[in-house]
Subunit: 320 residues, 2 copies
Amino acid sequence: MKPMTIKDLANFLKVSPSTVSRALNNHPDISLEVRLRVQQLAKELQFKPNSFAANFRKKQSKLIAVVLPKIYRSFIPDVIEGITKKLNDNHFQTLILLTEDLFEREIEAINQCCEMRVDGILLSLCNQTKDLNHLQRCQTIGIPVVLFDNTIKSDCFSSVHINDALAAGQCAEFINKQKVNRVAAIFGPEELAISQNRKLGFFSALAKEITVDICYAKDSHEAYTFANDQIKKHQTCAFFGISDEVLLGIVSAVNENKVTNESLVVGFSDGLTMPFLHRNLHYINHNGKVIGKAAAAQILKLIAEDEKLKEDILIAVELL
Amino acid sequence: MKPMTIKDLANFLKVSPSTVSRALNNHPDISLEVRLRVQQLAKELQFKPNSFAANFRKKQSKLIAVVLPKIYRSFIPDVIEGITKKLNDNHFQTLILLTEDLFEREIEAINQCCEMRVDGILLSLCNQTKDLNHLQRCQTIGIPVVLFDNTIKSDCFSSVHINDALAAGQCAEFINKQKVNRVAAIFGPEELAISQNRKLGFFSALAKEITVDICYAKDSHEAYTFANDQIKKHQTCAFFGISDEVLLGIVSAVNENKVTNESLVVGFSDGLTMPFLHRNLHYINHNGKVIGKAAAAQILKLIAEDEKLKEDILIAVELL
DNA sequence: CTGTTAGCGCTTTCAG
DNA sequence: CTGAAAGCGCTAACAG
């Protein structure tokens, strides 16, 4: 019942605990003979050292916290997969903390991370978060933080995301070439940095002759309603959608109005679901796994380095 | 830079470390006066005890590992949310370990959990897993395990899932009432327990007069191809789909063939995406959050109890 | 190459 | 009510 310890093993082998520890960790000091003897017995008895204790001693937790508002249906699951894979390959584990998009809970989560002494934090801010003061404690006790997805500009913390404005601009340019004179553009909640950036990029690249009907939708349903209205009102047949969630609403409205083939839909998607639902869909390939891996790589880099220097990483995307 | 310790605080206040510890934990032994003085200073200095150390001392990690093949696009994200919420409410944290549906990696993950001394494991098996021998170590060192989602029968470990056969039967019965004489039924990979159970339940409840065309699809695309073929070949207008992924393929084929309104689609869904895409969709409400919460509740129960007794929990579902 | 010793930061008997 | 002391399981100087 009670797990064995290094001491037990040492007593058994008539050597000291430190020898066992070193042998198990392949420390070069230990003679091959002793090393093998220890490792052999360890295997036979199925002994594995308590890594919790080892980490405690080494003042590390080998834990990276991923703090985010919630796990939406697309993108975020891929980000988590990307992060977890990258971390596992480097012998770190992934901890998930949800803030439910509440600033209060974000502070709480960050504090818990500090108390648990996680080795690093990957943070996607909740929408209410306007500054990064609550991350000061991380700074003072030396826990590196990398912002991803929903971020705000900072001159202390690294961040990883795509160049939203540029990508949205690519979408606009694509629409320019299609000889349409009206487009319905649907963004996410207006206060979201992501909405603002993509909107800016979109508008600055869109040809002036094109009329834009704009909407901030908080979910698929709102996007659907708006798209539907636009089709009814203006026979709109070109759409821009900021996310898979929004695109779902658009495509659903388009399909329902049986204007499928003629309609052009452009936007940001992970390319897993939407291309199924509409032939004439062109999207910025917003790959969560890539972002997750990059974010994880960056935090590992910060952990390894001595002087933590800020670095903003822009992930390249392409229009498919 | 170097975080403060209880000892530092104790020196500062001219009391012993144990007093500080007790005061911070609201131990009744400590006089109100001292308690307040300690807590006050702790607040002023922003001191928070190192919970990693405390947990080590208390031989607990306050960590629950969630071990699963991968984070698909639907269902699993909700399960994780449900788990995390329930755990957070009880001061536990969620650790994510991915097995990538490889038995090797599942073993590895379980071993890591044991070495880290997690307080409990929530496990969704990978498809290759045929027995539970690799969980023996958990048994011997006393880490409780709860199986969820993809499980196999066991007489040692608790499990949480829906009654798949019953639910699939409900789908079949619904189809029986609709006066169709042919239905295309699409399941997941054949080796999946979930596929088998649902198939069994479906067939045993389906009226004998109805012809069934069956397919095991590993993704939306295969489901789409099959559904499309069936429509072309038999003018099929009734479909059963085992998951959101499969339903996506079905609905996409149905929409494309412009037989939308006449077609009946029945299956298992989380109800978040699919109802948007097809009016005549009836689905077993497969709510990941509920399952996640139940699984988390069960592991907490096992942790609290002394004699761990196995319990199979069936989550009720309804056809919407 | 191996053992001795000390200690990570906290909790918890056990005394007083 | 408070303090002294031991120790969770492991690692890492420091000796030898």
